[in-house]
């Protein structure tokens, strides 16, 4: 039994742990993921089947069969990401152990190292002065001197990789856990989200004080437990959070509304316009509303909104005309009334926990801190005695070059 367990463990070590702990596997995984990302940008993602049939005749079955129409949600992309994360998790654990071990007795360890470069008389003093100038601590260990600084820099790689793992973890949470709801709401009205939160729109404007296009709404959020937020202004780029709810100024276009009423029959309908429509009873006579546009007034300062409209009478299309909000058009028995354009598009995100976004943002900052630590605060560990010196530590290159330049005769090639 024990023998079998040992065999199984050896197998796991050889075929699972060792490959996952190897940087070669990590590189391979990253290269394949980069390649798949590249492929995804050659083929438009997430379109309907008809799109691929029309644009890639003869290849659409292959594209869909290989999930090339949605690479990022394909099983193989997710599996490769999972493997990369698993590999990173194991490597990160090993990095932490290594960094903790390296911190123990590093001065004694460095002092015992043999010299790799010799020092000429007087050079030890020069080296000492240089190390003091770059603020290294000097510790005597027997016959040797050990210069060291930035010891905590050895945690840089650990921080980088653990932060990447956290970014992936919280990132997946941030992408898939919130409930997202797009709602339309007119000024003065309110909408209720699926969890019972109510959003009331108090005002909406499309320009800032200087007349620049800028969509903004004043809203008030009431949570299901009755807690009410103060009035908050939301703008493109400036959402408002309250409790677990975050509300965004969402649609960046202008919405309009036209009501069609028939005084004879008493029929009345309200049409919210998000794209061009043809309002007609028989398909031959009616009003084609092309959109709501903004124009500068004659004084060049103010701007105003108008509906671009085309009247169709018995199939004959009249020239385009501008209709001001509040105006009416009569056509046969029908009266078309053009309402004030409004801007109703809000997006509400209900987060699983109020701090879920902050967790992700902290992980991203940790990643930057890890990179800074790893690249700019690399540990320095130099042992020197009367005969020579050696540069130790996990990233000795910089110090080696620096000391060689300091102590050597100028080289012919110093000018690169």
């Amino acid at each position: 039994m024990g023998n079998n367990l040992q065999k199984a463990w050896d197998w796991v070590r050889k075929w699972i742990l060792r490959p996952l702990l190897s940087m070669r596997t990590a590189n391979l995984l990253m290269a394949v993921l980069a390649l798949l990302c590249g492929v995804s940008s050659l083929i438009p993602q997430g379109e309907e089947a008809a799109f691929y049939a029309a644009n890639y005749p003869g290849k659409s079955a292959l594209i869909r069969g290989l999930y090339l129409d949605d690479v990022f949600h394909s099983w193989y992309f997710v599996a490769l990401m999972g493997l990369l994360c698993l590999s990173m998790l194991l490597c990160t654990g090993r990095m932490l152990v290594k960094a903790l071990r390296a911190g123990k007795n590093q001065v004694e360890w460095a002092a015992a190292l043999p010299n790799t470069r010799t020092l000429r008389p007087g050079e030890l003093e020069k080296l000492r002065r240089h190390m003091a100038a770059i603020r290294c601590r000097e510790t005597e260990a027997g016959e040797s001197l050990v210069f060291h600084k930035n010891g905590f820099g050895r945690f840089g790689s650990f921080l980088i990789h653990s932060a990447i793992l956290l970014v992936v973890l919280f990132g997946i949470g941030a992408l898939y856990l919130p409930q997202v709801q797009d709602v339309d709401c007119r000024v003065g009205e309110s909408v209720t989200l699926s969890d019972g939160t109510e959003i009331e729109v108090l005002s909406f404007r499309m320009q800032d004080e200087s007349g620049k296009l800028d969509y903004a709404s004043e809203i008030r959020i009431t949570l299901p437990d009755g807690q009410r937020s103060p009035v908050r202004e939301i703008k493109v780029n400036v959402p408002a959070s309250f409790g677990r709810v975050k509300v965004f100024q969402w649609t960046y276009g202008v919405g309009g509304a036209v009501s069609a009423s028939n005084p004879v029959t008493g029929e009345e309908d309200l049409f919210e316009l998000e794209e061009p429509v043809f309002l007609s009873e028989d398909g031959l006579t009616g009003v084609q509303v092309l959109g709501v546009y903004e124009a500068r007034a004659e004084d060049g300062q103010d701007s105003y909104l108008f509906y671009q409209v085309r009247i169709v009478s018995n199939g004959t299309v009249m020239p385009d005309m501008q209709v001001q909000p509040g105006e009416e058009i009569r056509l046969g028995d029908w009266v078309f009334r053009f309402h004030e354009p409004y801007y109703p598009g809000l997006r509400a995100k209900i987060m699983p926990i109020p701090v879920s976004n902050s967790l992700l943002e902290i992980a991203m900052l940790l990643l930057l801190a890890g990179l800074f630590l790893s690249f700019y605060l690399q540990p320095v560990l130099v042992k020197a005695d009367a005969e020579g010196y050696t540069v130790a530590g996990p990233r000795p290159e910089k110090m080696r070059l620096e000391l060689e330049k300091l102590l050597a005769e100028p080289e012919e090639g110093d000018k690169a």
Binding site: L33, C37, N237, V238, Y252, M364, L371, E397, D414
Partner: protein, 263 residues
């Protein structure tokens, strides 16, 4: 004031052959003249950039023209700083050539000053794009160092000479700076995207290509850390990675539609 842009383009374009000649003939006066032209170009460029910023009432980094102009400025500034550190004549030649090329690309783009659309009017705008400018500049200057290494290697210089190790190390340090800044670009972009589009990541082509570039350089760090590849190999890697971020910068906007199409 647009004339300032063309003057600086002209000065960079002139500096390149003068610096090239100075490096070939090893003539100090020519080198000084080349640098003087380059620095003059940089000053005009800086003047134009500042003027455009005031005229637009914002950081002038929003259209392809502005971004390319900013990238060339970042490149020229980095080169000027790199020169004070490693006095590399050939690096100046490659850098001046690259600066003139990027400026030439900018000159081919529409130059009018546009009002920023609401989604771009954000606190994060300058940081996001400013970091991208300096990230790509670092990668380009790293490429210049790597190119110098490759040329020297082909001429038979020993890879363990101090000059060669310094060149390779400088190229690595610049890639590291570029990588740190690229990570900042992605992080700031994600935070901004959440505020503007409600999602940190939407697999938009520009995001995807930034990720590809990021992964390509992450692989570079690991290969370098394993220590099994020569400096020559690593320098080729840095040179061959250049098209990846150039595509992220310009190719994506021109060839692939997406949310960043206006940039």
């Amino acid at each position: 004031m647009t004339i300032l842009f063309f003057v600086s383009l002209g000065l960079y374009a002139l500096a390149f052959p003068v610096l090239l000649l100075s490096a070939l003939l090893r003539r100090q006066p020519l080198k000084k003249a080349g640098w003087a032209l380059f620095v003059l170009g940089l000053l005009c460029h800086l003047g134009y950039f500042v003027w455009r910023g005031f005229a637009a009432g914002r950081m002038p980094l929003s259209s392809q023209f502005e971004f390319a102009c900013g990238l060339a400025l970042g490149l020229a500034l980095m080169l000027a700083v790199a020169r004070t550190r490693v006095n590399g004549d050939w690096i100046a030649v490659a850098g001046a050539g690259a600066t003139a090329l990027v400026m030439g690309y900018a000159a081919l783009q529409p130059m009018e000053i546009n009002e920023l659309m609401p989604a771009l009017r954000s606190f994060w705008f300058s940081f996001h794009i400013g970091a991208a400018v300096f990230s790509y500049s670092s990668f380009l200057v790293a490429g210049c160092y790597a190119l110098r290494y490759v040329v020297l290697h082909r001429r038979g210089e020993a890879p363990d000479s101090r000059r060669m190790r310094q060149l390779e190390y400088s190229s690595y340090r610049l890639v590291a700076l570029g990588f740190l800044l690229l990570t900042a670009v992605i992080v700031i972009g994600a935070i901004w995207a959440e505020a503007a589009w409600s999602a940190y990541w939407t697999w938009d082509p520009k995001e995807v290509w930034a990720l590809i570039t990021w992964l390509i350089y992450a692989v570079y760090f690991h290969i370098r850390l394993r220590g099994q590849k020569s400096g020559y190999w690593l320098c080729w890697y840095v040179i061959l990675a250049i098209p990846a971020f150039l595509f992220t910068f310009a190719g994506v906007n021109k060839l692939i539609p997406g949310l960043h199409a206006y940039a």
